[in-house]
């Protein structure tokens, strides 16, 4: 496999794990804009343990996961009191605090970052991403997952049904933070270098976009969102010059075409994001959509539109 392809696969796997981390909190109605903070905790924990103590990779990854989970737990309790935009801001502030602390700490290399001696091949994140995906699908199929989705829909009624709202929210948020930390650890070992600048607000926004645009109703959403938005810029990398050559070719002069500006990729990404918000406000993958796909099968019991009254 080419270095380019394995690099893309590794990034894709890391993004999927990261997206699932954010998904677990979003699925309980807690919009989490602190993704970069949790990923930084996991990445720096793994990098530091690997560089300073020479820990083996599986231990550094585990430590990153656990430490980020502990951070998540510590954040989850106070943010139970916040709602809506205040919750988003609180998680965002957490990420900024983590970045600020890392930037000003000599132990963690400050603005210089840390070189990570342990390196993992592309298949390690891919295998872990597969395990994480199965894990999240399992979680969402349990009564705990049912509680998460119920809280997302209506907290007051969930409470009256006997759902332990605080417990479910805190556990889901902490597990999500742990997964984000795991993604961070894999990031550190894949790129063998961490610096604070890569764990910025844009990263938090992107991962939240993966989840929201992919769809929060099922565990398919983050998988689709992360895959789509990770691969799209790569597809456009080839597609854009080809399109420009073709368009210019229509008017004759196909020989001397300068490659289009890199920023066009982000323009198209932005336009697609807006279009998805307009046409799929509940996300790319929704439950009615999955139900519709299932009903197509001949064994389906009840044809779609046929309801009483």
């Amino acid at each position: 496999m080419s270095g380019y392809m394995s690099g893309i696969l590794a990034i894709l796997a890391i993004n999927i794990i990261f997206a699932y981390g954010i998904y677990l909190s979003v699925a309980t109605g807690q919009l989490n804009l602190g993704g970069a903070g949790f990923q930084a905790v996991g990445a720096y924990a793994a990098a530091y343990l690997s560089a300073t103590y020479g820990f083996p990779v599986f231990l550094t990854l585990l430590s990153g996961l656990l430490l980020s989970g502990v951070f998540g737990f510590a954040i989850a309790l106070p943010i139970l009191r916040t709602r809506g935009v205040y919750l988003v801001l609180a998680t965002f502030a957490f990420a900024e605090v983590i970045a600020g602390a890392l930037l000003n700490s000599d132990t963690f290399g400050g603005a210089m970052g840390i070189s990570v001696p342990g390196y993992v091949e592309w298949y390690v994140p891919v295998i872990i991403a597969a395990v994480v995906t199965l894990f999240v699908f399992y979680i969402m199929s349990t009564r705990f997952g049912l509680n998460m989705r119920a809280i997302h829909d209506d907290e007051e009624v969930s409470d009256l049904m006997g759902v332990p709202i605080r417990k479910v929210k805190v556990i889901a948020f902490s597990m999500g933070a742990a997964l984000a930390g795991l993604a961070g650890g894999l990031y550190a070992h894949t790129f063998t270098f961490v610096e604070v600048q890569s764990f910025n607000a844009i990263l938090s926004i992107y991962v939240l976009l993966y989840v929201l645009l992919g769809g929060t109703q099922t565990a398919w959403g983050p998988l689709a969102g992360a895959t789509f938005f990770t691969l799209l810029p790569e597809v456009l990398r080839d597609l854009l010059p080809a399109t420009k050559t073709f368009l210019v070719g229509l008017f004759g002069d196909a020989e001397n075409v300068a490659p289009p500006d890199e920023s066009w990729r982000f323009v198209i990404l932005g336009v697609l994001t807006v279009l998805m918000m307009v046409f799929r406000p509940e996300g790319l993958i929704t439950r009615p959509m999955l139900a519709h796909l299932r009903l197509r099968k001949p064994s389906a019991r009840n044809p779609g539109g046929e309801v009483l009254e």
Binding site: T142, R143, N147, E156, V157, D159, M161, G162, Q217, V307
Partner: protein, 264 residues
């Protein structure tokens, strides 16, 4: 049927929001196995009484006891486990969950401990089978897998009652279950509720459809402006002068109105 003490007892409960006295000194009992209607004009405080009983609000004064124990201080989340389930005036099903998942949510109070929380709700799991059986026995077995948001109003209204039933409550509280239903649907709802009642479930119902109230309930509690103005048989409820006045205004004597509003 009549045990020594009532299943639910509301004792001198008052509640105000800011300066607005919504419930003042309301008391009534619900005997085990009975079907009681809670009626009154719009804004009389019926839903507030429901919210006080289910624990959404805590009363300013007075107490509520259920099944022999004072539950005034019991958190709302724990009350369904005691056997107190309710439906809502505006349908409050979880729109993104399927029908059967909504019913499984109704079973929540019977799920105990981490093992029940971590068990997958696959096709053959006990919870799912029970939920599907319950739906089928209520004539709603056709669409267990459909997402609730896609179903028609009448069906959703009925599913909400079934969700409350899934908790196997001792007392089922229904907030305007017939609102928006046509006469045929209302009749089927009545038969449905009588069936439920015959299995031993006590029913407390808020309803405006007097036809349904009279054919379902033997007794009614009437509220007006947060006070109880009548308690007794549904047969004679519309002969009561205070009730007539609450609904139709004062045709009789002027000072009657003052007396009714102030001390009832």
């Amino acid at each position: 049927m009549s045990s020594a003490q009532p299943l639910l007892s509301v004792n001198a409960v008052s509640k105000s929001f800011g300066g607005l006295q919504v419930i003042s000194d309301v008391s009534f009992d619900v005997e085990s196995g009975s079907r009681i209607a809670l009626i009154g004009p719009n804004g009389a405080g019926k839903t507030t009484i429901f919210n006080l009983i289910s624990g959404v609000y805590t009363p300013d004064s007075g107490s509520i006891s259920f099944d022999g124990a004072d539950i005034t201080a019991v958190p709302s989340r724990k009350r369904i486990g005691l056997g107190l389930a309710r439906s809502f005036q505006n349908i409050r099903l979880m729109p993104h969950l399927s029908v059967v998942e909504n019913i499984m949510l109704g079973q929540q109070s019977h799920a105990s401990g981490p093992s029940d929380m971590a068990l997958p709700l696959f096709r053959r799991s006990r919870s799912r089978r029970e939920a599907e059986d319950l739906l089928a026995s209520m004539g709603l077995g056709t669409f267990p897998g459909d997402v609730v948001a896609t179903l028609p109003y009448g069906i959703r209204k009925k599913i909400e009652v079934v969700r409350a039933l899934a908790a196997k409550p001792k007392l089922l509280m229904l907030d305007e279950p017939a609102a928006g239903l046509n006469p045929a649907e209302t009749a089927s709802l009545r038969d449905f509720l009588i069936t439920i009642s015959e299995t031993g479930t006590t029913i407390l119902i808020v309803e405006h459809d007097m036809g349904l109230v009279r054919s379902l309930c033997e007794e009614a509690v009437v509220l007006n402006f947060g006070s109880k103005i009548y308690e007794g048989s549904t047969k004679y409820v519309q002969d009561d002068p205070l009730v007539l006045e609450a609904y139709l205004g004062s045709r009789h004597v002027k000072d009657h109105v003052v007396a009714g509003g102030a001390d009832a």
